[in-house]
Symmetry: C2
Subunit: 356 residues, 2 copies
DNA sequence: CTGAAAGCGCTTACAG
DNA sequence: CTGAAAGCGCTTACAG
C-alpha cells in the first residue's frame, strides 16, 4: 500500500506538503496541491488512519456497548447511533455484552485499548470497577437507556412513567384488577424503574402489586417464559402480564400458548418497548414505545459534545402508550360506526396514543 | 494515560524488556518480569493498540459490511460473526449499508483506511469498482450470504434450493396452483437465486411462474407491501405469496391486512428466512430457515484462514423448510388423534422439518 | 509557501 | 537475558 512518502516522491514535494494538502491546510500553493492530488490519484493512495490516530491522539471512533444486539430495541438504538455518528464524522465499534457483565468488561477494555474517543454504554449491571475507573479517569462517556447511579456521566434515556400510568389507566378501564409484571434485572436502572412506575400507577387506583405478581426476569425471552409459567401456576393468576421488555413479552406469549391459553381471552399481555412485529403478532400487542432513534441520536450528540470539551446535559425523552389488541380492547372490525375508515388503520398505527 | 516508557521507568528496565514481558517473549528473567508486571499494575497501564497496530501492521480487526442491520437475519449473522471473531482474538467493526451501494462504499473505504485485517461483505449490489479493486489488491475478503460472480473471493452461503423445492411440494400438496414470489433486487445473488429456485421447483409440477406473479422488491418491508398490493389488484390474484426475505413478508402481511383480507383463508404467505417472531405472528408463518449462526461462524473462520495465509474453500450449508400455519396447513388443535401431545408443541418448533 | 526534523507508542532485529 | 536504536506512517511547530 502506498504511503505518504510515495506520494511525496511522485509529486516532487516533501511529506509535510502532502500532509498539508490532505488536511486542507491553507498554506499550500495551488501548483503543489495539484501535483499532490494527481500523485494521490495515480497511486490510489489512502491515508493510514492508524498512523494518523497515533500522531493526533484521536481515532474518530466511538465505542458502543449494548446489552443485547438481538433485542430489536437495541438493534434500532445501535443503528441510529451509527447514523448520527457517521453524520458527525465518527465511526462506531459495537460491543455486545449479551447481558453478561464479564463480556461487558471485555468490550470496554478492548475499546479503551483501541483508544476510542468516547464511550456509549447501556450498562448490564451496577457498574464494574473497570467502568467506574474509566468514568473517573475522564474517558468521555455517556449512558444510554440504562445508567449507573452515583457516577458523574450524562444519561440519555426515556421516561416511561407517564406511559406506564396511561397503560394502567387503560387496563383498569378495561376492567382488569389483578396486574402482574415481569421485571428486568434489579441491577439495571430500567429493571427497577419500570417496576416502580407500574407499582406507583397501580397504587393510584387503590390496588397493590403483590410479590407473587412480580416475576424476576433478565430481559431475555426465556426468563419471560419462566416468569409467566409461575404466574399461571398461582392459585389466583393475574389477569394481565406486563413484560418489561419485548423479548420477555415474546417468552410470555410462548408460555401462554404452550398451555393452550389465548391472549387476551384467557390472559392479557402488554410490553415495554414497541417493535414492528408487535403489529403482526396474534394478537397485536399493546406496548409502551420509546423514541429509540431519537435516544440514539441524542446520545451521540451528547458524547461528541463531551469529546469536544463541552459539558452536555442529560436528556430524558417521554415514552408513549400504543394501544392494540392484547389487553382485551374491543375489536374494531364488527363495529358499524366508523364505516368510512379502512379496517386496520386505527388499531395498528404506531402513532396512536391513548388519552386516558 | 501511562505509556510503555512510564512502565519501564517505574520497573527500572528498558522499554524493550517491558515489551517482551507484554508479549510473553521467552527471554526475560523472572525478576524483570515480576518488576514489570508490578509496574503495570501500579500504573494501571494498558497497551496502546493503535501504536502496536502501526508497528506490526496488524489491527486484529475484521470489517463486516452488511446490507441492513434492522433485518433480524443480518442481526443474527452479525452477532455470530462477532462471537466467532472474539473467540479467535479479533474485534469486528460493523458497517450498515442499508441496501445503498454508496453507503456500502463509504464503509468499505472507512474500513480499509482503518487497516482492518480482513473484510466480510454481503454485497448490496453487483460490486462497485472500489470493492472489486480491494479484492484484486489482495485484501483478505470473504463474501457471506450474497456474493459477486467473477470475483475470486470465497463465499459462505446457504443453499435454499432443496428447501424451496420442499416448500413448493408442500404448497402443491395443499392444493395451491397460482404461486407468486416477491423477489429481492436482481443485483444481488440471493435476489436472483431465490426466484430461480422457486421457478425451477414450480416447473417440476408442470406449472409456470408468470411475470405478473414476480414482484420486484428490495428486501425491505415497504417493497413487500407494494408488490403484494399489485398482486391483489390482478384480475386473477395468486393463491400464495412467497416473500424472498422476512421483511418483505412483514410488508406483505401489512398489505393483506390493510385490505381486510386474512392469511391463509384469503391468501397464503410463506417467507425466506426464519425469525423468532414468525412463531407468534397471526398466523405463524411457514418459512425457509437458514443456518444463520453457522454461516457467520464459518465466514469468520474462512476469513481468518485467508488472513493467516491459507486458502479457504467456499462453504455452502443447506437451508430447511419450517412448516407452520400461513399456507392453509390443517389446524392441529381440533384434531382428536394425537391427544397425548401438548397443544402447541408440534406446529411451532423451529426444528421441525417437512419431509415431502 | 515549503521542508527538515521531532515525536506519537509501540516492536524487533542487532549487538553484547 | 538486556538495552540502544531504528522505524511503522503520519502531523506539526519551527525556521526559512
Amino acid at each position: 500500500m502506498a504511503s505518504i512518502k510515495d506520494v511525496a516522491a511522485k509529486a516532487g514535494v516533501s511529506v509535510a506538503t502532502v500532509s498539508r494538502v490532505l488536511n486542507d491546510h491553507p498554506s499550500v500553493s495551488p501548483a503543489a496541491r495539484t501535483r499532490v492530488l494527481a500523485a494521490v490519484d495515480v497511486l490510489g493512495y489512502r491515508r493510514n488512519a492508524v498512523a494518523r490516530s497515533l500522531r493526533t491522539d484521536q481515532t474518530h471512533t466511538l465505542g458502543l456497548v449494548i446489552s443485547d444486539v438481538l433485542n430489536p430495541y437495541f438493534t434500532e438504538l445501535a443503528r441510529s447511533v451509527e447514523e448520527e455518528a457517521r453524520a458527525l464524522g465518527y465511526s462506531v465499534i459495537f460491543g455486545n455484552a449479551d447481558e453478561r457483565p464479564e463480556l461487558q468488561d471485555h468490550h470496554i477494555r478492548n475499546l479503551l485499548d483501541r483508544r476510542i474517543d468516547g464511550l456509549l454504554v447501556s450498562p448490564t449491571d451496577g457498574g464494574s470497577p473497570l467502568m467506574l475507573d474509566a468514568a473517573r479517569a475522564g474517558t468521555p462517556m455517556v449512558f444510554v437507556d440504562r445508567w449507573i447511579p452515583g457516577v458523574d456521566v450524562p444519561v440519555v434515556q426515556a421516561d416511561g412513567r407517564a406511559a406506564v400510568r396511561d397503560l394502567v389507566a387503560h387496563l383498569h378501564g378495561l376492567g382488569h384488577r389483578r396486574l402482574a409484571i415481569i421485571a428486568g434485572p434489579a441491577a439495571t436502572t430500567t429493571g427497577r424503574e419500570r417496576v416502580e412506575a407500574f407499582r406507583a400507577a397501580i397504587a393510584e387506583y387503590g390496588l397493590t402489586l403483590p410479590d407473587d405478581y412480580i416475576g424476576q426476569g433478565d430481559f431475555q425471552a426465556e426468563s419471560g417464559r419462566r416468569a409467566t409459567e409461575r404466574f399461571l401456576d398461582l392459585p389466583e393468576p393475574p389477569e394481565v402480564v406486563f413484560a418489561a421488555d419485548n423479548l420477555m413479552a415474546l417468552g410470555a406469549l410462548d408460555a401462554i400458548r404452550a398451555r393452550g391459553m389465548r391472549v387476551p381471552e384467557d390472559i392479557a399481555l402488554a410490553a415495554f418497548d414497541d417493535i414492528p412485529w408487535f403489529v403482526h403478532t396474534d394478537p397485536p400487542i399493546t406496548a409502551v414505545a420509546q423514541p429509540t432513534g431519537e435516544l440514539g441520536r441524542a446520545a451521540v450528540r451528547a458524547l461528541v459534545a463531551r469529546i469536544e470539551g463541552r459539558t452536555p446535559k442529560s436528556v430524558t425523552l417521554p415514552a408513549r402508550l400504543v394501544v392494540r389488541r392484547s389487553c382485551g380492547e374491543p375489536s374494531p372490525e364488527p363495529s358499524p360506526a366508523p364505516a368510512t375508515e379502512p379496517s386496520s388503520a386505527r388499531r395498528s398505527s404506531p402513532a396512536q396514543r391513548s388519552k386516558p
